[in-house]
Symmetry: D2
Subunit: 256 residues, 4 copies
């Protein structure tokens, strides 16, 4: 492996409320998944995040979530497939509307929080998301949890798919990330994050916290910006990757 | 005058709540301005309205409003120009995202309620809306109250502008519609509506309820679908126009 | 049995959106469960419903639901017990604030939609609701699905509990109502509703759609006002009960 | 003057979003005005703020605002008087519901942001707020900007009124605070805040930034917790007041 993408969730502030250190993370990552006003974000927050990305040469994607600001999109909501497809298409389009004004383009989509977790193992949800992406623009890259139903759905729908792993989340044996309800969900130690990333790359697999290996391609690693340690962990991982001679590129630059 | 457009606001239901008789109005009008989830509407409501429009050969536009579902977008909200521009661009993009899935395109934008009323006389608001449209797609038609700052802003920004009058709203001497706070705001009588439309066309002017004439082109007349009498009034006006030999066309078919 | 209560959900309009025929139902039922602004309702809608109840001699209760206007409180949301308790206490208090201005009192609480369904079988949810009621006013009656965890939780917390059945919903064998996702969830035929109510009273049991009897006291029957047939069904049931010599009283008048 | 109250706005976080340092301010002030879920706050945030107040011997009040989370209640919204009255009664009741669970009581009400500014000079708005308070509990103290229509409305309605000035906001000649749109709205310098507070007390007047004196009683001073400098400014003012031998008491302890 000679190149990889680093991405992060961005633009998750809302009105008067600020969360995350987007400006610092933009220096480290190469692709930003921007909240679209449902689980977080608003038009002004989105525009600021898109402009920041553009100014840092960072590619942008939509980060659609459930319409649940109070729960930050982290609470599962059951919708029918068509409703979900429209909800995702709406959010992608909304970010495209904002991006047009800034002079840049939406090149990937990555679901947020509970939507992402549900679509990891639910083929109907995964397919609804893939169809929403395809209906808006079939060249948009579907950033999908490695080993998930989303990877399969994206491939079935003919979308470019980037398989993703986390630098700062531990994994269950089924390949899904550990729920935030558990104390060991997040990795706050840069050295642990570096070990995880390098072992995933070396083994070409997700490795669960119990040591189970699930073979998979990985095109992009995600760093969380909303944790106090997020910037330090992401910076350390980037440095470690570059020390291995791996180039950090944007998602459109990746060979998928 | 040998052709004119009839438009109406559509897709203003929300979740469990239904308002307006979109299906009946779609048979009468030729362009639908679809609420975008801020003052009304949600992704599913929007998709249903877009599909209904497509099936009836009705062109669609975005109907952006303030983010105030409780007030149905009818309460003035003061925002700075950039925030307003982003808010409008977001809503246009969101409808484009929905429209893509239905296989149709957004060809006009018409502001809703208090946003429309404020932009009628506020050049900053009018310009912010025009810039939002232009940033997303400079071929989109700006449906602007006749005699308003929106007409001027649209022309300054180089957008195609369709000047609009209402078939079922009375006018003040300044060319703005009478506020809904007044009892004579709405026209519920089909004959009164027909007289208004034919006199506006004949005089090439807006004529206020006090008889003041304000000369202007009119490309499109708006019918309200959320009133009990809306469908009857719109149908009567359409029949009267056709009886005069005037063809009712979509906005993209109009010569602007 | 010589007396029973009839209740209905009320005040589920929102802003510009109207749902249900509260005025007609108020003539039939004796207790109104009023939405509190989370799944439906707003302060003005609530005040109007409270005033209407007062003018009709109808007792009022809070009808708390999830904060999900888009889903009308019908989508399950998982919260921790304390969050849920606060959410319910908030809504009860809010209705008390409105009721004070109208000069009446909140005398019962009945959960709405998905919250009600979840608390039917989840002791933690049922207990959180009971504790919220108790913390605000331990004399408030907990209107709880017959045979549910809510009955048990209300009794454990020392609350007055009114066991409830529906006149217009069918039942599963576990005593829970049939989900609205199924076509046979609602009873639209007045005769079927009358048969259900009289058989439940006669057998002193919930009887499922498959004929299973689950013995239980029933203090109150609920009629749905948001269905087109709701008023007719409720009126027919009330007449049938009175024809049996059963008096229809308010919840505070019931012997619990 | 031998005693005075210090109050601050609290509980203005929302869900995942945190704002203000409530824990630090609770050590300095004696009365907390707690957001009620409209412009900010949610049931869990409210419960946490109420508990923190109780544990610090701080009296609590409702801090009602417009239903505009995106604008943090800082954008004027025009409502009719009855709608406004219900909106305020709802929020007071909601906080009472939360407070009951924590074992404490709501003893004052202070409007937030744009609602407060509008009611400063609009007798209709001021009266609607006073009536809402009175309808819920006529012993609740109305914390009203000194020299405002709110003071007059509270007195007309027979409420206990506490006249308030700010330690960290500058004043216009009309006695209203300088709008946040102006750079000199906030006082960030502790020494400037101390000078303002001591001169207001010494002169028994509001003194505008241009030196205009508007004679008034002042029962309570408000410190803002949402500014980075808020805690330092509040702490310095408290120390300065105590150095003058002035006792800092809760609102219910004040002689009004």
């Amino acid at each position: 492996m000679t190149q990889i993408n680093l991405n992060s969730d961005m633009g998750e502030s809302f009105g008067r409320y600020t969360v995350g250190d987007d400006a610092a993370l933009m220096k480290i990552i190469r692709s930003a998944s921007i909240a679209c006003g449902f689980h977080a974000g608003d038009p002004t927050v989105m525009a600021n995040a898109v402009r920041l990305a553009r100014d840092n040469g960072v590619s942008i994607g939509a980060h659609p979530g459930f319409n649940d600001l109070g729960g930050f999109g982290r609470r599962p909501i059951r919708m029918n497939a068509k409703e979900l497809e429209y909800m995702v298409a709406y959010q992608i389009g909304a970010l495209q509307g904002i991006a047009a004004g800034v002079g840049t383009k939406v090149t990937h989509v990555k679901p947020h929080g509970a939507l992402n977790n549900m679509a990891h193992e639910d083929a109907e949800y995964a397919t609804a998301i893939a169809r929403a992406i395809k209906s808006v623009d079939r060249d948009i890259i579907f950033v999908a949890n490695a080993c998930s139903e989303m990877v399969l759905a994206g491939e079935r729908e003919g979308l470019p798919v980037a398989a993703e792993a986390y630098i700062d989340r531990t994994y269950e044996d089924n390949g899904n990330i550990t729920s935030r309800r558990h104390a060991d969900a997040m990795i706050h130690d840069p050295q642990q994050a570096i070990r995880q990333v390098l072992s995933f790359i070396g083994e070409q697999a997700i490795i669960s916290k119990h040591g189970k290996k699930i073979p998979t391609r990985i095109h992009t690693f995600c760093a969380h910006g909303d944790e106090a340690t997020g910037v330090a962990v992401a910076g350390a991982v980037r440095a470690a990757l570059e020390a291995q001679g791996i180039k950090i590129v944007t998602l459109p630059e990746m060979t998928l």
